[in-house]
Symmetry: C2
Subunit: 308 residues, 2 copies
């Protein structure tokens, strides 16, 4: 296996993740990643018909696991997808993490995938598995360097998805080709990440992250969830703890020119933590002295010693 | 295996499809559907990151196979996805069809799936397989009975996707959860199918089909492809052959009230053929005498004898 980025993967992959699969009868167990586990008619593969969560590994568990399981349940409900029992999913995640930690002490994330299962064998029920993976060097480095982002239209007007639940606003589904393509378009143009903008000009979210900003000292903002953005567990955690840094949390719509004028702009998510945006479409954003404190608030480190 | 519809599948599944997989070295071969072929980190499953085509089986091949392979190549290019060689894909489709026809003489379709492959083993290259499947009784029956459709917002303004290629307008990707959810919302409300409407009120397409209509006798219309709808191979075939029925083909934007006033409205796709829309949101549409002739033009039959 090569550790180099392929031409199509945006973030280089560290060595092999650890796979845990959920057997409906015997429960979770480790399995070889090399051995196929999904049938050709698995709805995850033929229709992106399922949901997932990505979490940061902390100690012997996943950070904010409870909130992630709750969001997964919300995504599944929107898809009319029956999930395995909550406790089985928790054990599945812990099994993957334990398997990873037996092999490596490197910083890790864990991805939990739940899908509708094989189309032609509904008696097999839904599919569930977890992959514990090493956090990429690129991502760790960006916690220090920040990212240059490109703004791209996300197509939807900001108010549209609140009226149309079948558009799956707020859901973390496996139908992620659009997000990945936006990311590829941004990186092909020399940017690090993509910032998705509504058809009517409002900032929505990153391709795989949530945008937060300080419009002025003392206030920490993010986008209202009725725009259909993914309700960020990391941003929610930041909001709960923002008062510890003297910041008042606030949700509001913002346009690009206002975002460019903010005191600080960041992308956050469970595995990346919080990464400063250094420019948007080539226009520099203001660097904020808050970055190290926000990073520490989330329990991430950004010192060079961590970077391989 | 039950042949009853599960609560989550919209069209009941006929017996087991026949699977053909593409080995990059030895070429296509039949494989047991029961045996998993996809790794847990397959991008098709974790990100809906791939493209597909569904075709109607005619004789020992797929109807309009060349056009489908061309559209697949277009979808793949939009995803920056490298496809296996064209001839290997053709052989893969033919292998699945041959396998089906050795087992059954029932009307069949064939689905060709191409995806990015395992995220952590890029050296394995893209994944490709074909599933030959029996056309469902429900679908065959609807060719005679027509369908009652519900209109649902598709979120995008009609002109938006032409400006934003990363939104994958015109691409048949595996990220299909939105389409399937729209279909589930429609069926849960007692309708047969969903008709997707742009955020600015224009008719776009069916959840898994293309809409065509006769605004008045002598004209056959469908939606302009710069709206980001899937460029329909079936509608294109209809357009080429429409003059044989004295119909002049035309592409234009249309709103729901105008569609309701049309002389005839249909949903078409490669496997369903052409199915008349009998009502939209409960308002009856005009029944057209053209339905049998359009069905025959596409080479489908709609007599009851075909229906089990």
């Amino acid at each position: 296996m090569s550790s180099n980025p392929s031409t199509t993967s945006v973030i280089p992959a560290p060595p092999e993740p650890v796979l845990a699969v959920l057997d409906p009868v015997t429960g979770p167990r480790l399995a070889a990643l090399e051995t196929p586990i999904l049938r050709a008619d698995e709805a995850a593969a033929t229709r992106g018909d399922g949901a997932f969560e990505s979490m940061h590994v902390r100690g012997q568990s996943a950070w904010l696991l409870e909130a992630h399981l709750k969001r997964l349940a919300h995504s599944a409900a929107a898809l009319s997808l029956t999930l395995p029992p909550r406790d089985a999913l928790e054990q599945l995640v812990l099994t993957a993490i334990e398997g990873w930690q037996e092999r490596s002490d490197a910083e890790a994330g864990v991805k939990l995938v739940c899908a509708r299962g094989p189309e032609y064998a509904p008696e097999l029920g839904p599919t569930a598995y977890a992959l514990a993976f090493g956090v990429s060097d690129t991502l760790i480095r960006r916690r220090r360097t920040g990212v240059a982002v490109a703004s791209l239209s996300f197509g939807y007007p900001a108010a549209e998805r609140a009226q149309a639940p079948w558009l799956l606003g707020g859901c973390k589904t496996l139908s992620y080709a659009g997000n990945m393509t936006a990311l590829r378009h941004a990186t092909a143009a020399g940017f690090d990440d993509a910032l998705l903008i509504s058809a009517d000009g409002y900032v929505l979210e990153g391709a795989t992250s949530t945008v937060v900003w300080t419009p002025n000292p003392g206030v920490l903002c993010t986008v209202p969830i009725d725009t259909g953005i993914l309700p960020s567990i990391t941003a929610e955690y930041l909001f709960e703890h923002a008062p510890e840094l003297g910041l008042k949390p606030f949700r509001q719509l913002i346009r690009l020119p206002e975002l460019l004028a903010a005191d600080g702009v960041w992308l956050c998510s469970s595995v990346r933590g919080i990464i400063e945006v250094t420019s948007i479409d080539g226009c520099p954003t203001r660097r904020s002295p808050l970055t190290p404190r926000l990073t520490a608030l989330l329990g991430f480190q950004r010192n060079a010693a961590q970077c391989v």
